[in-house]
């Protein structure tokens, strides 16, 4: 690792020595073998039990059976089994009970059920142990293969620039940072652009909230009221604005949206012309600069996103009044505005 301070590497070999792992695996294997033996024993009981049930079921079929009676441990002698329906059943703990064949079978069947339950329990235990041994074995093989464990502290790397540009908006700040790094020659333009975009969005939202038509200038700040209705003034300002940011393809994308919405708005035709004029030189400029800004394309696409917020207000007429005060407001006091802009966004959605 290049920056060793970030994490630590430890080979599994050193963490778990192979002998230790082997020992652990062996111990688990032993435990499994024990359980298996126990399971076999229980299986034997079950088969004995079922055989006994079978026998007890058959015995009362005849009145008497010819059998060989064991005499001590050494000898047998022939005898006869009578009372074939009477059993003395050991219940456990030295208690016996007189039972008929049918009752005996019932008792034996209950016992068989208890045995089955025990077998199930043992099986579950064995599967647990087997999983454990599997884990040990895999650890052993991994250690043998020289696998390493890499530990790295997770540090959330917060970009430092966010605090500085974050006051505008998050979607803008990141592309800003990258573009600043990419071409440090035009950081101011980027920033100003971002501010203006923020301002634009904010004003649009304000208008949307008010639901006002193109005459919503009253809502805008007083100092711009006169400008708003003055088409020529506004158009020239837009031209200024677009020239100012002619280096950015993103700003062009944003403005491209605006003529569409303009057509919906009840604007004088001359104004539309001015608008188109304004956007054309921008396009040319941006194409000129695009050669030197290949790295900026990525960030400009981000900026297109800020432009896409404009799309939300697409169907709404009063876009022009939102745009008009922008050039002057761009130099005004924005830092506090973007905060409200977020609120606006929430209010719309």
């Amino acid at each position: 690792m290049g920056d060793g301070a970030k994490g630590t590497i430890a080979s599994l070999d050193s963490l778990f020595s192979p002998e230790e792992v082997q020992k652990a695996a062996l111990r688990v294997e032993d435990a499994i073998a024990d359980r298996r033996k126990e399971l076999d024993r229980l299986r034997g009981f079950i088969s004995d039990n079922s055989a006994l049930i079978h026998l007890v079921r058959k015995l009362p079929d005849e009145l008497s059976h010819d059998i060989m009676v064991p005499f001590g441990s050494a000898a047998f002698f022939p005898g006869r089994l009578i009372h074939t329906n009477e059993f003395l059943v050991l219940l456990g703990e030295g208690y016996y009970a007189d039972r008929t064949a049918k009752q005996t079978i019932e008792i034996l069947q209950r016992r068989g059920k208890a045995l089955e339950a025990q077998v199930e329990f043992l099986k579950a235990m064995m599967s647990d142990l087997e999983a454990e041994s599997k884990f040990f074995n895999s650890t052993a093989t991994e250690a043998a293969e020289g696998l390493v464990e890499i530990r790295e502290e997770y540090i959330e790397d917060a970009p430092k620039d966010v605090s500085e540009s974050g006051r505008y908006c998050i979607s803008v700040s990141n592309p800003l940072d990258s573009s600043k790094e990419d071409n440090s020659g035009k950081p101011d333009e980027d920033e100003v652009h971002a501010r203006i975009m923020a301002k634009l969005d904010e004003l649009e939202k304000e208008e949307i909230e008010d639901g006002s038509a193109s005459g919503s200038d009253e809502d805008a700040e007083d100092s711009f009221q006169s400008n708003v209705n003055d088409d020529k003034n506004e158009a020239s300002k837009i031209a200024d604005l677009s020239m100012q940011f002619s280096t950015k393809a993103g700003s062009f994308q944003c403005d491209k949206e605006q003529p569409d919405s303009m057509q919906k708005s009840p604007l004088p035709p001359e104004r539309k012309e001015n608008l188109h004029k304004a956007s054309i030189p921008k396009l040319e400029d941006s194409s000129e600069n695009s050669a030197s800004q290949t790295s900026k394309i990525g960030s400009s696409s981000h900026r297109a996103f800020t432009g896409s917020i404009v799309e939300h207000s697409h169907g709404l007429a009063p876009v022009q009044s939102a745009k008009s005060p922008t050039p002057e407001q761009a130099s005004g006091s924005y830092p506090s505005k973007p905060v409200s802009r977020f609120k606006m966004q929430k209010g719309i959605r």
Binding site: L88, L91, G92, E93, G94, Y95, Y96, A97, D98, R99, E106, I107, R110, R111, A114
Partner: protein, 130 residues
Amino acid sequence: MASSPALREVQRDLETQANALSKLQKDIAKNHQVRKQYTIQLGENELVLKELELLNENANVYKLIGPVLVKQDLAEANANVRKRIEYISAELKRLDGTLQDLEDKQNSKRDSILKLQQKIQALQAGKSKS
């Protein structure tokens, strides 16, 4: 050589502690064994009780005492088994308590042994330096 007697003393101490620990471990193992036996008996008794409860009133019940089967009243047998289960449960509880006690002791012993070992290591390190 001033540290040598101290070292020897600590080592002797460690030895006695280790002996005590092994004794405790033996006790714990024994306790486990007894406990296992009692649990098995408890299970058997519970089985017997279940069967006895399923018997009719007039069923013949016998108890094997030594080599002879002694006829017993069903109610009596039932009561006996119940008492036995009670006794075994109490015994198991007692064993649990002692086991807990022993394990606590074992842990404390282990701690003290660890401390002693560290002491010895420190002493040895000091000796090798000087």
